[in-house]
């Protein structure tokens, strides 16, 4: 029977249960992945980001907060133009990391 109400699932990120396998694998070959300061330059320059939710700095966070499925969905928007890599002030090789995620 439908009483017209339900329980909302918690939106909390439960850090104790987060699986960091993918992020840690990426870290081994891309140690600069840690140095992101979330300045947002990558997202601001991203052509795909102007039309979709594509945001590399957010994608990195997704991988560290247990949202790997969402991250893999987001990455499909990327056209690998590499503008993000050109503008990154921390010198992170973003294009390579994006390629490595899907590998």
């Amino acid at each position: 029977m439908d009483f017209g109400f339900c329980l909302s699932p918690s939106s909390h990120v439960k850090m104790d249960n987060v699986d960091l396998t993918t992020f840690n694998r990426l870290k081994e070959t891309n140690p600069d992945i840690n140095t992101c300061i979330a300045c947002g330059s990558c997202t601001a320059t991203c052509t795909a980001g102007h039309f979709t939710e594509m945001s590399f700095r957010r994608l990195l966070l997704m991988l560290q907060r247990g949202k790997e499925d969402e991250a893999k969905k987001m990455i499909q928007r990327c056209m690998l133009c590499g503008k993000c890599t050109l503008v990154c002030s921390r010198g992170i090789n973003i294009r390579k990391i994006l390629l490595d995620i899907t590998r």
Binding site: S11, H12, V13, K14, M15, D16, P31, D32, N34, T35, A38, R57, R58, L61, M62, Q64, R65, R90
Partner: protein
């Protein structure tokens, strides 16, 4: 006859000012309320940004003041202005006549139990940055027992209207990342998180320390203020914060939580400060004449200030001010 300069406070500011005044041929006298010179910095293990041992600096400073008249375990109980300068009475009943007074009374560490939501003094595994530094220096703290997950909370007692401290305490950001790196050195397997709102890495080498903490020490910086701390059945610490870059609330279990406590004005000098007629500024520290060209001067002629008594300051800031106060006092006496 050499002219006496009364310096209240034997920390970094007081010692450095005394050293310079002594070199100028004056007669500085240090009055220190605790049992040793050195102040807070003598309790510190290593200094940011380059992990330089604090002991080296303190020992050098102590050596510089070895010929200078110093009273330990002594406080100034009364002070009055007379035609010739100042007449001070000490707690050991001795008196000092001085031409000028330098207040170098420094700061107090914010009492972490005042932020009740962080559970300091209630939960065993919540400690302060000062206690962690003590652990680095002595290797002793029963609460630090091979933690696997460690969190640092920035701005405890700073930038917080609820504790009436709206100012930034200046040194805690850099100290947090320094300590985060150091605890990774001691426990390489541990995961280290810092919870910040802004990382204020303003000085030479500080931004390099930030990069180093991320690159070499795998310190994870989460943007968001910890709002709530509780303890689970195993005595572990459960924290809540928002990851504001991710836009979601976050929950995490930690083995150790370190609170980066702010600097507050050292209130034990209030009575003497009042007698000298020095007001407080909007942050509750001592008011200097102006923040650019009169940073060592006060509203009262012959009374000078140096170091963290006027605002939170790093060690290089304090040493710089201590040297400039010596010049100010010298010029004042030769007017």
């Amino acid at each position: 006859m050499k002219e006496n300069i009364l310096i209240i406070g034997g920390g970094a500011a007081g010692m450095e000012a005394a050293t310079q005044l002594h070199k100028m041929g004056l007669n500085p006298i240090i009055v220190e309320k605790s049992e040793a010179l050195g102040g807070h910095i003598a309790q510190w293990d290593r200094l940011f940004p380059a992990f330089h041992p604090a002991k080296d600096v303190v020992e050098q400073m102590l050596d510089n003041v070895k010929d200078i008249k110093t009273y330990l375990n002594t406080e100034v109980t009364d002070i009055q202005r007379n035609n010739d300068g100042f007449h001070a009475v000490l707690s050991n009943n001795e008196t000092i006549d001085a031409k000028a007074v330098i207040l170098a009374t420094g700061f107090d560490v914010f009492k972490a139990e005042r932020k009740q939501e962080y559970g300091y003094g209630i939960y065993n595994n919540v400690i302060t940055s000062v206690e962690l530094e003590e652990f680095f220096r002595t290797g002793k703290d029963e609460r630090i027992n091979h933690p696997k997950k460690i969190g640092f909370v920035h701005c405890v007692g700073a930038r917080d209207v609820k504790v009436c401290n709206t100012y930034c305490s200046k040194v805690c950001c850099t100290t947090a990342l320094k300590q985060a790196c150091e605890i990774k050195e001691v426990f390489p397997d541990a995961e280290v998180y810092t919870f910040y709102m802004d990382l204020r890495m303003f000085g030479l080498g500080y931004e390099d320390l930030y990069l180093k903490s991320q690159k070499d020490f795998d310190v994870k910086c989460v943007r968001g203020r910890v709002c709530e701390v509780s303890e689970d059945m195993d005595g572990k610490i459960v924290i809540k914060a928002e990851d504001t870059l991710f836009g979601k609330p976050l929950k995490m279990t930690l083995d150790l939580l370190v609170l980066m406590c702010s600097m507050e004005k050292n209130k034990s000098i209030d009575a003497i400060q009042q007698k000298l007629g020095i007001a407080n500024n909007s942050d509750g520290f001592m008011q200097n004449k102006d923040m650019y060209l009169g940073m060592n001067d006060t509203a009262q002629e012959g009374v000078f200030v140096a170091g963290a008594c006027t605002a939170p300051k790093s060690l290089p800031d304090t040493i710089g001010e201590a040297r400039s106060v010596a010049v100010e006092v010298y010029n004042y006496l030769n007017k």
